[in-house]
Amino acid sequence: MEDKNILEVKNLCTYFFTDRGVVKAVDGLDFDLEEGSVLGIVGESGSGKSVTSLAIMDLLRGTTGKVVEGEIWFQGRNLVELSEEERRMIRGKDISMIFQEPMTSLNPTIKVGEQVAEVIRLHQGASKQEAMERTIEILKETGLPRVESMAKEYPFQLSGGQRQRVMIAMALACRPKILIADEPTTALDVTIQAQILELMKELQKKSGTSIIFITHSLGVVAEMCDKVLVMYCSKAVETGDVNTIFLEPKHPYTQGLLASIPKIGSQADRLDSIPGNVPNPKHMPSGCKFAPRCAFADERCGQEEPPFFDYGNGHKCRCWLCEKDFKG
């Protein structure tokens, strides 16, 4: 494991075993998270980006999903091989997570202050009173108003943005090494989204936490991330630093995604769009998964899965079109 990487994911395969067959939600995913950096994982619904985060957090227990292959290296340990108990010691302390829907991810029957304090008591062995004092401090850091009274309120009494700030407080309570944010602003209005993104940037600068930022919004990625991983149908199709991905994307899917978002001030009459739909996970095409929707696909694309061509500097692309760049 290289020193600068705080997390290394190797050949991660997460399958769901349902009554109607196996769904390969994540199938052979590799990526590294550099210490202190922000990695964006983008993809459309069903691409496997959320399942990846659940696998890292070990939150697939109790579902039909299972990590069947692969390694997740964190601080010299392969998380996949650890026991449930050991994973629990890491979850919430070293690696924590913010979820999309702040209403459903907070417990509606427990006061928000107590929910944050629970994390501190559990991982830092603080007394009830110490934990509460720390909680008030952390809630203040997230910019919430009238913290003392708000800590005694229930989630339903808070607005969406306020709830998301509570989630962030909870996730950052133990100063984690890694924060996984799964669509943290998707349910919020733009002006509130701007507030939350600003807060995350600030906290990241202050604490040096490494962040995995999962989102479908390319705008948010361009704004927040250093590195980007584009997923399509349970695999990484392209990865690189944020400038490379946005300015010189190589994969037709990345190019298509970028072209299909309306840009303010562009004055285009029509948007480019990617034809067709994301394939059903139970009937995955053989070969390149994107081939049926790709304008450049030829016969080989439908038969052989392309390798992950490595352009250096972390830029990799899974497409046969890249092959010509590597010949001779």
Binding site: E44, V190, E223, D269, S273
Partner: protein, 325 residues
């Protein structure tokens, strides 16, 4: 022919509520909105959750009765129309809803969904004619004839939204009110549906009222854009003026908050403090003043009048003239 197709005057929608502090009072979902839409024009309405943009769509379609104000469609005042009279009007005005999962009856086949308006409005007499029209409509929205026999659950989100559009098109309406039609869709599918809506507009000369929280989508599809805050407009202008020279501080903040999909354009944003106030307890004077950094004494007292910046650009702000430079 009348150039103005839809005219809305001082439209209000109040819901009675009882609160601990104020006793019997109202949620002012729509607090006096006035605008015109020209034939063939697309008016985009943007605003954050709770600003009243969806209520406006429902009220104009008279799916909820307005508290006060006037709605004139194609020269006809429909404000006081009852159910029976509205049935005739609905041949002219149709809606497309946000959630393609909730807005199609799961027990009806696609054929039944698209044919229903044809049957209700008795547009065709024979079964053959209805069959032919349903298939024609499905093809127009990019679906196939064999899809008619299927049920909504067999379709993806984008395809369901196409079915919803086919249903709205069935009666050949003049106006379509589209309430967040692409918000539930993935980006690659979103652009397909937006392109479809643009094609249909051209083909049938449709007039759209396009409601969305997404400023980039609204910019793409609209001719004129109105920005709402707490039940009223704060600014309305042709697309170019609004996006190039936003005047109202709220519009400026809203535009600056949109994340741009270009890493070279990371810049300081205008971050608004606080949240949108509750529509039960609307701030006095300018509704935006508690969050506005340019707020002066008059903003706290008087409701701002409509200030004309140019022929097609007006703003509700006391300091509009000053900001417009």
């Amino acid at each position: 022919m009348n150039d103005i197709l839809l005219q809305v005057k001082d439209l209000k929608q109040y819901y009675p509520v009882t609160t601990k502090e104020q006793g019997k009072t109202f949620v002012r979902a729509l607090d006096g909105v006035t605008f015109d839409v020209k034939r063939g024009e697309t008016l985009g309405i943007v605003g954050e959750s709770g600003c009243g943009k969806s209520t406006m769509g429902l009220t104009i379609c008279k799916l909820i009765e307005p508290t006060d104000g006037q709605i004139v469609l194609d020269g006809e005042d429909i404000t006081k129309y009852g159910r029976k009279q509205m049935r005739e009007i609905r041949k002219k005005i149709q809606m497309v809803f946000q959630d393609p999962y909730a807005s199609l009856n799961p027990r009806m086949s696609v054929y039944d969904i698209v044919a229903e308006p044809l049957v209700i409005h008795k547009l065709f007499q024979s079964k053959e004619d209805i069959d032919a029209r349903v298939i024609e409509l499905l093809r127009q929205v990019g679906l196939d004839a064999y899809h008619a026999k299927r049920y909504p659950h067999e379709f993806s989100g984008g395809q369901r939204q196409r079915i919803g559009i086919a249903r709205a098109l069935a009666v050949e309406p003049q106006v379509i009110i589209a309430d967040e039609p692409v918000s539930a869709l993935d980006v690659s599918i979103q652009s397909q549906v937006l392109n479809l809506m643009c094609d249909l507009r051209e083909q049938y000369g449709l007039t759209y009222l396009f409601i969305s929280h997404d400023l980039s989508v609204v910019e793409h599809i609209s001719d004129t854009v109105g920005v709402m805050y707490l039940g009223s407009f704060v600014e309305m202008a042709d697309k170019k003026s609004l996006y190039d020279n936003p005047v109202h501080p709220y519009t400026q903040a809203l535009l600056s908050a949109v994340p741009k999909p270009d890493p070279r354009e990371r810049k300081e944003k205008i971050i608004l403090s606080g949240n949108i106030p509750s529509p039960v307890n609307v701030p006095k004077g300018c509704k935006f003043h508690p969050r506005c950094k340019y707020c002066t004494d008059i903003c706290k007292e008087a409701v701002p009048e409509r200030t004309q910046i140019s022929d097609s650009h007006y703003v509700y702000c006391h300091r509009a003239k000053e900001f417009a430079k």
